[in-house]
Amino acid sequence: MRNRGIGAALVAATAAVSLAACGPDGGAGGDQPYIAIVSKGFQHQFWQAVKQGAEQEAQRRGARVTFVGPATEQEVEEQLNMLTNELAKQPDALGFAALDSRAAAPLLQQAKASDIPVIAFDSGVDSDVPVTTVATDNKAAAAEAAQHMAGLLGGQGEVAMVVHDQTSRSGVDRRDGFTEWMAENAPGITVLPPQYGGGDQLESANITKSILSANPDLAGIYASNEGSAIGVIKGAKESGRDDVTIVGFDSGKAQIDAIRGGRMAGAVTQNPVGMGERLVDSALKAIEGQDLPKTIDTGFFWYDQSNIDDPEIKEVLYQ
């Protein structure tokens, strides 16, 4: 019976990884308050920065956090499964960034019934359960990008958009915030229909090259998140077009280098580390029963060559 190996191998693998992982034990106990955080994603540097901020704040304040999120920002069902599993661990508070807030409504009600305070972050939730929402105003941030783009182009020319997706709240807000500001304030600027690259660097690069071949007079390109921006930078470079004004979103090493090197005019950054810190701070206040404001705006900043080394900006950029 060689086959008995399978069970043993499974156990061995799981046990080995549990030991190697050195993660906090998932059990109850411990007198530290435990905050479970379910995010929209995991692999993206932005979420890693939120995680870092949350962990820093938790360490400072003597709390325990776990941070999970689906592999991509499309996996609504996967996120619900994760939320279910986190609630099973009976946390003292829950941080939640909803991919689809209506889908999560029953689970949030369950959290409320169990007296677990819920703090929404990154985007709002259509429900009265969350005690507060810790987020960036994406529409206003995109309008800021549009304003700088218009200024850089002198209010004239054709502008293309490479957007990370057309289904998520942030994708829609960062698209509409940009186009609406242009429509209202920049009559001389023509905005081409948005193209979607799924936030994928390669796909966004290919889209950029197609846009550049189809529109030789193009003056500017706006990218709605880190992946899109890196793709746009690559695409413009491969097409040999360093005359196009590129405006991006978020940060990350590639974008920061492009701004320093002049390939990119500038970008709007959120404050992900601060978002994680405010999230944990709000959760701890909620556990203590303090009242919180309906929304906590974590802010956004325009950065370019002129201010990239300012301490205020340095603090919110992630590499």
């Binding site: 086959n3 156990v11 992982a21 059990g27 499309q74 996996e75 599993n85």
Partner: protein, 334 residues
């Protein structure tokens, strides 16, 4: 649970001889054993694992992958592969929204229509494979892309909400017995699994599925219209794509046009862990269900133990390797 027998395969079945049925069952027992071992491990590791609430959560999270995996089992036993199940599911979810929300059809018409739409996706796959002779991997890869695009086109790239459709979410999250927390979705999965098991083991559809997967040429030589049956198998498997589309959109209360890519691989993983051979001719619905449950238990248990997420897929990948390797060992010995 269905009783499983190795159906009489084509004229030259693999591994015929005494003990074939026993060996088939052995593979399932093995998979079941692994499931028990995993569960026992997590029960010891965390006080939150072995509870009724968590047990139903695990079953509930198995429904969508399990439904897709049942359909995929038929295709894989017949020697094919289906990569279009994930995005096809998203398209069927959107179609459910089109039928029920945009066209305002009643549930009794709209839900079957969405399921049949999945059958249509399968029918097209079957025709591409059997009539045009396009390899299944390529034919269904193309369909994966077509379905992904169509789902976005038909939904205007935005979720379609079923808020106004009375009783739709109850298909998934409702409880048949009021007050007993046991989601309908799980009952539906068990019902279709029983049905699929019956069809695979006791009917001509199942017999020809095994036979085509074991030896297509011999099946054709023995006078069976292989082309027709292949189309039938893909179309039948497509019904599960449609059902999964209904199940996921009922759970979410919305059709999410971009949620689906990746599910096809998880479904294939469940089928493979359950002991179905990718070279065709062998496999079972029970095995597939156990395979899907192993994936769910691992996902749930590792998260409940607060194992860092980066490691969870590493473990899942290793489990697939171990499962398939034991199968290979078994085959070598027989």
């Amino acid at each position: 649970m269905t009783a499983t027998r190795e159906a009489p395969a084509g004229p030259r079945p693999r591994g015929r001889g005494p003990g074939t049925a026993v060996r088939g069952r052995l593979q399932q027992l093995l998979a079941f054993g692994s499931l028990i071992v995993c569960s026992a491990f997590f029960s010891v590791a965390s006080p939150f694992f072995f509870t009724y609430g968590n047990f139903t959560a695990i079953l509930f999270s198995t429904v969508v992958i399990g439904t897709l995996a049942i359909g995929t089992t038929f295709v894989i036993i017949a020697g094919g592969i289906d990569l279009s199940t994930g995005t096809g599911m998203a398209l069927c979810a959107v179609m459910s929204g089109v039928f029920l929300v945009d066209l305002g059809l009643p549930l009794v018409l709209g839900v079957p229509a969405a399921i049949l739409f999945g059958g249509l996706i399968g029918l097209v796959n079957g025709c591409n494979v059997a009539v045009l002779g396009i390899p299944p991997f390529i034919a269904t890869l193309a369909m994966m892309l077509v379905a992904e695009g169509l789902a976005l086109v038909l939904s205007d790239s935005a979720p379609i909400y079923f808020t106004e459709v009375e009783g739709y979410v109850d298909i998934s999250t409702g409880n048949l017995v009021a007050g007993v927390n046991f989601p309908n979705a799980v009952l539906i999965l068990l019902a279709v699994a029983l049905l699929a098991g019956f069809l695979l083991n006791k009917t001509v559809l199942g017999r020809y599925t095994y036979s085509i997967g074991s030896n297509e040429e011999a099946t054709a030589l023995s006078g069976i219209d292989v082309r027709k049956w292949k189309i039938a198998i893909y179309a039948f498997a497509g019904l599960f794509i449609g059902l999964a589309g209904v199940m996921i959109s009922a759970r979410l209360g919305s059709a999410q046009p971009a949620t689906g890519l990746g599910y096809e691989l998880q479904a294939i993983a469940a089928v493979v862990i359950g002991g179905t051979s990718l070279s065709g001719g062998r496999g079972s619905i029970v095995g597939t269900l156990i395979g899907a449950l192993i994936i769910s238990v691992l996902n749930n248990g590792l998260q409940i133990m607060s194992i860092p997420q980066e490691w969870q897929n590493v473990i899942l990948g290793c489990v697939i390797l171990v499962a398939v390797y034991t199968d290979i060992l078994r085959k070598k010995r027989s």
